[in-house]
């Protein structure tokens, strides 16, 4: 077993575009509402104010709020739809490679 390693900042910290024309600094209230647009993920996407004119690419998840839809044919979590090659687990008496339990 190797010792814990102190996590490091990523090499490229997340950019914050304060001052960039494409990102409008929102304070609160009316100012926020002025730049918000299409419903997405139940939250809101920003109205287009960049060169592409596009709004959010998020899925229209608000129309399918059940757990069932999460595991249907939609690809809303970005991890592929239900895999055609996926196999359900089967019982075994092999020694385990890993343990799944609450943590």
């Amino acid at each position: 077993m190797t010792p814990d390693r102190t996590p490091q900042r990523p090499a490229s910290p997340a950019p914050r575009e304060e001052g960039n024309r494409r990102v409008r600094r929102v304070t609160r209230g009316v100012a926020a509402a002025a730049i918000l647009g299409t419903a997405v993920f139940g939250g809101l996407a920003w109205a287009a104010d960049d060169d592409s004119g596009a709004t959010s690419s998020g899925a229209s998840a608000t129309s399918s709020p059940s757990l069932g839809s999460f595991f249907g044919d939609d690809d809303d979590d970005g991890h592929g739809s239900v895999d055609q090659g996926w196999q359900a687990p089967s019982a075994t008496q092999q020694p385990p490679a890993a343990t799944s339990g609450a943590s």
């Binding site: 490091q8 997405v40 059940s66 757990l67 595991f71 809303d76 359900a88 008496q93 339990g101 943590s103």
Partner: protein
Amino acid sequence: MSGVPASVRFRALGTTALVAVARPGDLDRAEEVLRRELEAVDAACSRFREDSELSLLNASPDEVVQVGELLAEALAVALGAAAMTGGDVDPTVGRAMSDLGYDRDFRLVERRGPSWLVRVEPAPGWRCVLFDRRTRRVRVPRGVSLDLGATAKALAADRAAAAVSAATGGGCLVSLGGDVAVAGPAPADGWPVRVVEDHRRPEEPGDTVVIHTGGLATSGTTARRWRAGGEARHHIVDPRRGGPASEVWRTASVAAPTCVRANVASTAAIVRGRDAAAQLERVGLPARLVGAGGDVLRLGGWPEPRE
């Protein structure tokens, strides 16, 4: 091939990380890739690091912030999970978690003692978070704190397994505190996984199952428990109440095509309580539920244990 040729484990993300490889010669490379991936996830998504990207976002209320690609992916997964579970798995529980006393690494929570006063209020709800996945811009309202704990670990397992398999060209299993993902060619007999209530105690009663693809996750109320405000608390918050979910099921294990999906379903099952079994049956995911009294319910094709 039977069993697992090689594996290594270490502490990461406040829990135990493990990578197993189908070809022993891949182990060093696999560990390197896993460590790098987990460092990136921790730096982006940790609620307990003041310098994490998530902490910086939470500390910028009402501001539009452009986040990095990894945090954007984690936010998309978390908000997607909230949408698809109707808000049962909701990332806006950050403040509720803190109010319950879980505002630091869990080892420090345990040491604080039971006199901590708690406040229980409903989570603000995921709909208040404004997020554009394409531009990676996000706005978190004042008073809202995001916690990605319900999905980020599973996402990290999926990402790490894919990255290890891509780097080595071989099959692997990654487990992060019991959230398991596999990728690449599995051993001939698959990846055997012990399913119990606490991932640190594989010797306790449970089932051993084989998976070949996808993921397997367990959520439960028996781990990460503490006392605060005179009552026992656990880390799975019912967003609608802001307090710990009622303990109809003390453990839920689910297998799915990805670890994220398995984890969202298992966490939602704990929150949903009595309704969970029927809903899991409907979506057809194999699941193993352990009731508050220890009774075990296997459904959705979850295999009966071999004698």
